[in-house]
């Protein structure tokens, strides 16, 4: 396992995000399942039962980069829809490839410099770091305020 991958997985662990094997995912795909058009999500395309991420119980989505320093998943808003599919459902499964790993946020900016240039295509770039959470009531940590209550990560088998 590469050093970047080790660090990334450690961060995910600290954020309460399990890293599961593709085979383990099967059991989680219950209720209304939305599967995004990302190529890495192909293996689960047949499991989709819901075309609208707003109504899904589970969403399976891809991503654009992985950040080892913070355990973050980077999402560019186009061309595949990444906003609603990673935000609305109680459970979001993100599939990413080892090849997408970078050390820090700065390297994501470098990689996508062309799409972040003024006037370029991207409408937004989001870094998702763990599930949605709050400590607003007596500093008690609660998950799933507006976004996913649970985030699960899967490494694509072919390396993404």
């Amino acid at each position: 396992m590469s050093e970047l991958r080790r660090q990334f997985e450690e961060r995910l662990g600290q954020l309460g995000v399990p890293v599961v094997l593709p085979a383990e995912l099967e059991a989680m795909l219950t209720g209304k399942v939305f599967v995004s058009e990302h190529a890495v999500c192909k293996p689960w395309a047949a499991r989709a039962t819901c075309a609208d991420p707003r109504e899904a119980d589970v969403t399976v989505t891809g991503c654009d980069a992985l950040v080892a320093e913070t355990g973050s998943v980077a999402l560019l808003s186009a061309p595949v829809e990444t906003r609603l599919s990673t935000l609305m459902a109680p459970l979001n499964v993100v599939v990413g490839g080892e090849r997408q790993l970078v050390a820090d946020m700065e390297l994501v900016f470098e990689q996508f410099a062309g799409r972040l240039r003024p006037g370029a295509a991207a409408a937004c770039l989001t870094f998702v770091t763990g599930p949605s959470r709050t400590t607003d009531i007596e500093k008690t940590l609660i998950f799933g305020v507006h976004g996913p209550k649970k985030l699960v990560f899967v490494f694509a088998e072919d390396g993404g």
Partner: protein
Amino acid sequence: MMPMPVLEEKRRAALARALGQTLQKRAQAVAEMPEWEAMRQRAHDIRAGAMDRLFEHLDAFERAAAANGIRVHHAATAEDACQCVIQIARRLGVTRAVKSKSMVTEEIHLNHAMEAAGIRPIETDLGEFIAQLKGDPPFHLTAPVVHLTRDEVGKVLAVKLGVPFTNDPAKLTMIAREVLRREFLDARLGISGANFLVAETGSIVLVTNEGNGRMVTTLPNPQGPRVNVAITGIEKVVPTLRDAAHLLRMLARSSAGARLTAYTTFIQGPRARSSGEEPSGPDEVHVVLVDNGRRGMLRDARLREALFCIRCGACSNICPVYHRAGGHAYQSVYNGPIGAVWSAALWDTEQAAALPFASSLCGACADVCPVKIDIHHAMLWQRNLATLRGRVPAWQRWAWRLWRMGMERAALYRAGSRLARVLLPQVVLNRLARPWTSKRDLPPLAAKTFHELWKEEA
């Protein structure tokens, strides 16, 4: 100056626990970075560089944002900023708007202005949602209801939403999720603040842990045009994406002890234009750049540093005055140490001018600040300004004048200190120092003055 009211014993203990917990997490996150001091210095330098050439950076931001299709508005005053938002809402024909947490919108009293114009702003940050239901101003920069117990929160939701009472934070959060999810699915106008603006790319940077920042900027309603408005202060600009990345690290670690806030979004513009239609996202993105007194702070070399603030709330968490008095005692949307500085700088009122005096000047705030703002020296300077501007009560001016006369003439000083022993017995001293002496006595003046003792020894 009016003494600040203190919190009741029980609430003070609960507040200390909550703030202490956040500080402890921060300390862990800082301990993980052996080069933390260098990181603070870099953050300071980034903010100093941004403020030194603020208007150049703002121009660059505006050009880049325009190229991205973002519309930039300038608001000299709070009133201008509110009008700008109201006009956008009217053109869109909406009567409701979802809002994510933004201190600038509190500063300009946007909610009040919108309601007066017949548009209902709905706060979607859990803490702000509770504060809005209760009708309270925010108690803390990052934790608006940190002073409320779970029972009190439960009561607010039960009374205002008509739901069965519960004091379980998880259940309370799920009630809010359901209510606010309906609002998100319906909304066509999303209002947010901005944590940073990036000059080189025209990006609006927004962070939330709950995901409401993403909701109000994504607007999942597929019916009709959708609009985002980000309202923020002119000081939020930073030159580059790399600068923003560094400050985001400092913000997450200082505010919550996290490596990064859960959702960090760089908004580049309306939903995808050239590479296919995106199913969600705004059709228009606006940014309102609010001045409202910030240029004045920029001109005063001793207040300029206050503009570096990234609103992490750490200075409140550590401040002994904030611990005892709580956020509402400041009677200003900006509270805590940096809030005192901002309030006195933005608002020329006796109330605001009094805030920099309500400090022990211990400097704990400056030590904890991730961008190394010399907060207590700014307060000291503001005390000076308040005195020069006659913002100090007349009895205090006279008291100091008297003291000065005595200090300048030895004979007068000696006579005065002997006279004080006759005119100021302990009961009188106690009366003068109320309410501080309601539960304790001031020590009586010593029988002999220092001069007398000195002479006897010699």
